[in-house]
């Protein structure tokens, strides 16, 4: 089997690539324990920076705001993305479906500067229109939590739609059809059959949304006002000025939390997959046995 063997060249490239991806992160983690005035010179072990970060009010309040935005906008994006993914995978031919598909993927494809600018201009125009019509200040549309929420929901929705749509397309539809034949209402079919089947996709979509929201600095910069700085905005303004050991600590915490979460999710999903395989094998065996008994 010559084609199945991994050539030394491929092996070296794979390991070099993985080293390229991981060495900077590992060094970052190591230097978060660095006890030296010069950030890049090793001067012994310390956990001083961890203590400092936990007392840094600016970072903590920004992190709290980011978390709130990430969770709320991801929840909204999951709801919208599930509807949109269902529409694209199951309803398929409806009026304006090409436009629909184009609009869904636009925030994914367009550079963040364009998405951010266009949303800000929209908000300003709506605010102006409402001001003209109502005659008073439309303060709830001022740049802040709500406007960031709108932007992040739209961005996350695009990615979540792709995830849920692809899960729905590869899903076996016979269960839903069987339920329909048995007279179940569409809404019931969705909640009893379809939703549990796409639950893993919804979960990973939600996590993806949280990551995207926690990462975004450009769209947020257009949509945030005074007093609503998110964590990426604080990080960006800090690292622009130079190296900062507290950022190493923040990165280490990020890597630790995300790494554990992703590996745990993967483990659960793999266990579920093996469980499903096991159940299917058991069902198959039972069926075989029943057939044998029938023919006997």
């Amino acid at each position: 089997m010559m084609s199945n063997r991994m050539s030394p060249f491929l092996k070296i490239m794979l390991f070099a690539g993985l080293a390229f991806l991981y060495i900077p992160l590992i060094i970052l983690v190591i230097y978060s324990f660095n006890d030296s005035k010069l950030v890049t010179v090793w001067g012994g072990f310390t956990t001083e920076w961890y203590g400092k970060l936990l007392k840094n009010d600016q970072i903590l309040s920004a992190a709290w705001l980011s978390l709130k935005i990430a969770v709320t906008s991801s929840l909204a994006a999951v709801a919208l993305g599930t509807l949109a993914g269902y529409a694209l995978a199951r309803i398929k031919r409806f009026r304006g479906n090409t436009l629909f598909a184009g609009m869904v993927s636009a925030p994914m494809v367009m550079p963040d500067v364009i998405t951010g600018l266009s949303m800000l201009l929209l908000i300003m125009q709506v605010q102006m229109l409402l001001q003209g019509a109502l005659g008073n200040d439309v303060a709830w549309l001022d740049r802040g939590f709500f406007t960031i929420f709108l932007g992040h929901t739209t961005l996350c929705m695009a990615y979540i739609t792709v995830v849920i749509r692809s899960r729905l397309t590869e899903l076996d539809q016979s269960l839903e059809e069987a339920a329909m034949d048995l007279g179940a209402r569409p809404l019931k079919i969705f909640f009893v059959i379809t939703l549990p089947l796409i639950a893993p996709a919804i979960a990973s979509g939600f996590l993806l949304g949280v990551t995207l929201s926690l990462d975004d600095v450009v769209i947020t910069s257009f949509l945030s006002g005074p007093g609503s700085a998110t964590l990426p905005q604080v990080i960006f303004s800090k690292i622009r000025l130079g190296l900062d050991p507290q950022m190493n600590v923040l990165a280490t915490i990020f890597i630790g939390v995300v790494g554990t979460l992703v590996i745990m999710m993967n483990y659960i999903m793999m266990r579920q997959a093996t469980k499903r395989e096991y159940e299917m094998a058991a069902a198959y065996k039972a069926e075989q046995k029943a057939l044998e008994e029938l023919s006997a």
């Binding site: 991994m6 900077p24 970052l28 636009a106 367009m110 550079p111 201009l121 990165a251």
Partner: protein, 321 residues
């Protein structure tokens, strides 16, 4: 009996309308209309007011359309283009900053895409050839950095690359070099970090394509006496074409509009269009100009997407036959 089936149909149609209608309205209001507003404002004039641009209709209801922003972007097009692209006239980059930054953005994105492809292809190929039991673990290893904060991954390289950074420190300590290497705030650090940030986007679509490849084709080629390199060039490479295109698009398009990486590690010579748009918007408070820059950028990006769609459609048409 007949009534109820008509009823069910009607209800189903109503359900479908609600399911498509809600996300459709959201996208219509928050994606499509904003694009039109950007387009509209790109024909306005900047003004000292809130918001800082003139309306397209003046008080008497007459059109007030200004092409100045586009004229600024395309001023002295040919002479600037000539100066910019002339390899023998080093240093002269033309007077038109917008054209120059569009060009630098595209150049940087192309370089990033090419290096990601050269680095990512063997990696994706290796994973697709790996034992199925470790394949998932390898894919997870590729994806894991993507899930951690983008900004902090860029920051990781800042500590490594600066003049008194970790790499220079070690090289000087071990007497490999006597002067610190100039690796930061230039094209080298820009491309390196861009490749670092976007490499997973290249590997994943390549992997999905390569893992589908029928190994029997390669065995047949070997049996017929083809050199592995020839087999690769005539079988593997053409059959992974759609993966190459998809991965390249996933890297190229966000690279063109990248703002964060050039700002943090790119240095003054690597101005990119995202930054110019941001400057026009926030420093000069010239929203119409920012809108016009965005419109030209959209057109620049829609072109390659259109080409990809064209090839995609041709491919599916071929597959259908």
């Amino acid at each position: 009996m007949k009534m109820s089936s008509v009823n069910i149909k009607r209800r189903k149609r109503l359900g479908a309308r609600i399911v498509t209608g809600i996300p459709f309205m959201w996208l219509f209001l928050l994606v499509l209309i904003p694009f039109f507003i950007v387009f509209k404002i790109s024909f306005a004039e900047t003004a000292y007011s809130i918001p800082p641009f003139t309306p397209l209709f003046d008080e008497e209801g007459k059109w007030h359309i200004v092409y100045q922003n586009y004229q600024d972007i395309f001023a002295d097009f040919w002479s600037s283009l000539g100066a910019m692209l002339n390899p023998f006239d080093g240093g002269n980059r033309g007077d038109n900053i917008y054209l120059l930054t569009y060009w630098l953005s595209i150049k940087t994105a192309l370089m990033t895409t090419l290096i990601c492809l050269l680095l990512g292809y063997p990696m994706a190929y290796a994973i697709s050839r790996a034992n199925p039991s470790i394949r998932n673990a390898l894919l997870l290893a590729i994806m894991l950095p993507f899930w951690t904060s983008f900004l902090l991954r860029v920051y990781a390289w800042m500590g490594l690359l600066t003049t008194n950074g970790i790499i220079n420190n070690f090289l000087m300590k071990w007497d490999i070099i006597s002067e610190p290497l100039d690796m930061f705030y230039n094209s080298f650090s820009l491309i390196l970090v861009m490749v670092y940030a976007y490499l997973p986007f290249m590997i994943l679509p390549l992997y999905t394509q390569l893992v589908k490849l029928d190994k029997r084709l390669l065995e047949a080629a070997a049996d017929l006496g083809a050199h592995p390199i020839k087999a690769f060039l005539t079988i593997t490479l053409p059959m992974s074409k759609s993966g190459i295109i998809a991965g390249s698009m996933l890297v190229f398009i966000p690279s063109v509009g990248e703002y964060v990486v050039p700002e943090l590690v790119g240095g003054p010579d690597n101005l990119m269009i995202g930054k110019v748009l941001w400057q026009a918007f926030s420093d000069q408070n010239n929203w119409p100009l920012a809108a016009a820059i965005a419109v030209v950028m959209v057109i620049l990006l829609v072109l390659p997407i259109g080409v990809q769609q064209y090839f995609d459609n041709r491919e599916t048409a071929k597959g259908g036959k």
